[in-house]
Amino acid sequence: MPKRRDILAIVLIVLPWTLLITVWHQSAIAPLLAIRKACHHLVKEIFIIPERLAVHHHRLSDEGAEGRREAGGQDSKEYCASDKDIVEVVRTEYVYTRPPPWSDVLPTIHIITPTYSRPVQKAELTRIANTFLHVPNLHWILIEDSQRRTPLVTSLLRETGLNYTHLNVETPKNFKIRGDTRDPRIPRGTMQRNLALRWLRETFKNNSQPGIVYFADDDNSYSLELFEEMRSTRKVSVWPVAFVGGLRYESPKVNAAGKVYGWKAVFDPHRPFAIDMAGFAINLKLILSKPQAYFKLRGVKGGYQESSLLRELVTLNDLEPKAANCTKA
């Protein structure tokens, strides 16, 4: 008959090992279980992480950052159900609306786009957003010509994933285009652009972040090189614009010293700045330093809208020609 001492010895040997094995097994499973529970939260975090790390400056959007990524179309439940390693999830998941990561060194390009309701509005905004999604450090200021911010634009902006500000101001009826869209006496989008300028001045009053301001209409086409050309603007930079003013392209005239001395345009080339809205960009500092400079609303002759702003900001001599000394459209 085994002695009690031996039984005790065996128990004391076996018991710790069985307990040890049980604990190891449990400690392997518990984190996995925890991860599964956290998975739903984490899948959302996958999308939010780049934004949190990336965006530094003030953003005036009414919806918080959480709303932006959810409309990516992925259901977190699909991915969290499996026991697969979470890293797998990140690999197979494709986030198709994602702007490039925010950079600390690039100046922000603030794009001011007035828009108004018409059948092609959603199409135009969709395709211009597809363009903007390629540009790093881009901040889109979209101003609606409406009494209230429309749900169409609100949800479109949210789904793109872009860094945006959504404003609105309604042009009074007596200023609006009366049927004839070609009537140049009534400036389109002026109040909206001015509102954006005012917003910029209020937001960046005490902020010395470098930035460039560009007025982009929602129906134009932009190459990606353009945005990189304008990033180095010190005061106001200019370049050619195609299919404007009845020409293949309008362009500033640049002399051998790299200075602008005139305008290659046929429609009133003696305007102080015979350039289209899409043909110039302004450094944010200049905008902030001249708080009275706005687009003139009343009494502006056709084609002089750009001049009404630019002449308050800069002289011809200060213009910086881009696009290989204004030889590329």
Binding site: A34, E45, I86, V90, A123, L247, Y249, V266
Partner: protein, 328 residues
């Protein structure tokens, strides 16, 4: 010996104790074996570890230009194009949309006897996976200056050339993998949302969806009941076998390869171009409705205004036209 066992027992006892308290208290895992009673709300170690692993993964992914080649099936987009003033602008904007879509192969077919340098250079700089083809439209089939756009069907030879190339190319890629894909006919002046391409990727035979701003309507769309297309909502010639626009459907590559004679019929009456291809491939009840049972508009049949060149023409008469060396 007893002492050794005693120590082991105490250790295990501590582990058990803490794990028994629930999965929240995981502070002991990792470095600290002795279970320091830390503020566990802060130190959720496995979750932190998972998050930092994910962050590393994300940074790595963001550095790559495109996501790694995955099991996504390739979308072959066939686009006919022709030289006109706005061609470069249209192609630029279109390429900016396509650059967001993974596993997309752009088959651009020029209506021209030779490949033009404008398109060749553009494609080279675009960063897309592409195939550059060209085939000229016969003179009698071409729209003349002043002809309304609906008079003759456009892009027929070019789309057929795209299909022919695709069939040839796939012969060199045997096996099931080479047969996986979706074929979509995209015109260079339409507007495509990125969601559309994800919807069409799962096409088994022919998938359909609404198209905005086409046929004189806010949108044209298949009408879906019980997950099947029962009729079409359109204002023009609804009696057509497939009364929809080129942008409103996609065909699986398998189906295209299985029917080597299926192509567009240039002689078909106005509006029957799409039907001339589809009737040889599928029946109406086999169509797969996408875009939330055809309730969302993800593509718009936008048209681009012809730019006014009055002043250019006036200058050219005087010999002072815009520098032709500047590519527009």
């Amino acid at each position: 010996m007893f002492i050794i066992f005693y120590y082991t027992y105490i250790e295990i006892g501590k582990h058990l104790y803490f794990s028994a308290l629930g999965t929240n208290h995981r502070c002991f895992q990792g470095d600290s074996l002795w279970g320091q009673h830390c503020d566990c709300a802060e130190h959720d170690l496995p979750k932190d570890r998972a998050i930092s692993r994910l962050q590393e993964e994300l940074y790595r992914l963001q550095e790559k230009k495109q996501p790694p080649k995955s099991s996504l099936s390739t979308i072959f987009v066939i686009t006919p194009t022709y030289a006109r003033l706005v061609q470069k602008a249209e192609l630029t904007r279109l390429s900016q949309t396509f650059l967001h879509v993974p596993q997309l192969h752009w088959i651009l077919v020029e209506d021209s006897p030779r490949k033009t340098p404008l398109v060749s250079n553009f494609l080279m700089k675009s960063g897309l996976t592409y195939t550059h083809l060209n085939v000229p439209t016969a003179k009698e089939r071409k729209l003349q200056e002043g002809d309304p756009s609906w008079l003759k069907p456009r892009g027929v030879e070019q789309r057929n050339e795209g299909l022919r190339w695709l069939r040839e190319d796939r012969k060199t890629e045997p096996g099931d993998n080479g047969q996986q894909g979706v074929v979509y006919f995209a015109d260079d002046d339409n507007t495509y949302s990125l969601q559309l391409f994800e919807e069409m990727r799962s096409t088994q035979r022919v998938s359909v969806w609404p198209v905005g701003l086409v046929g004189g309507m806010k949108f044209e769309s298949p009408v879906v009941e019980g997950g099947k297309v029962v009729r079409f909502h359109t204002g023009w010639r609804p009696s057509r076998p497939f009364p929809m626009d080129m942008a409103g459907f996609a065909v699986s590559l398998r189906l295209v390869l299985a029917n080597p004679d299926a192509c567009f019929d240039g002689e078909a009456p106005m509006g029957f171009l799409e039907s001339s291809l589809l009737k040889g491939l599928v029946t109406a009840d086999e169509l797969e409705p996408k875009a939330d049972n055809c309730t969302k508009v993800l593509v718009w049949h936008t048209r681009t205004e012809k730019p006014k060149m009055k002043r250019e023409e006036a200058l050219q008469v005087q010999g002072l036209g815009s520098d032709p060396a500047v590519e527009v």
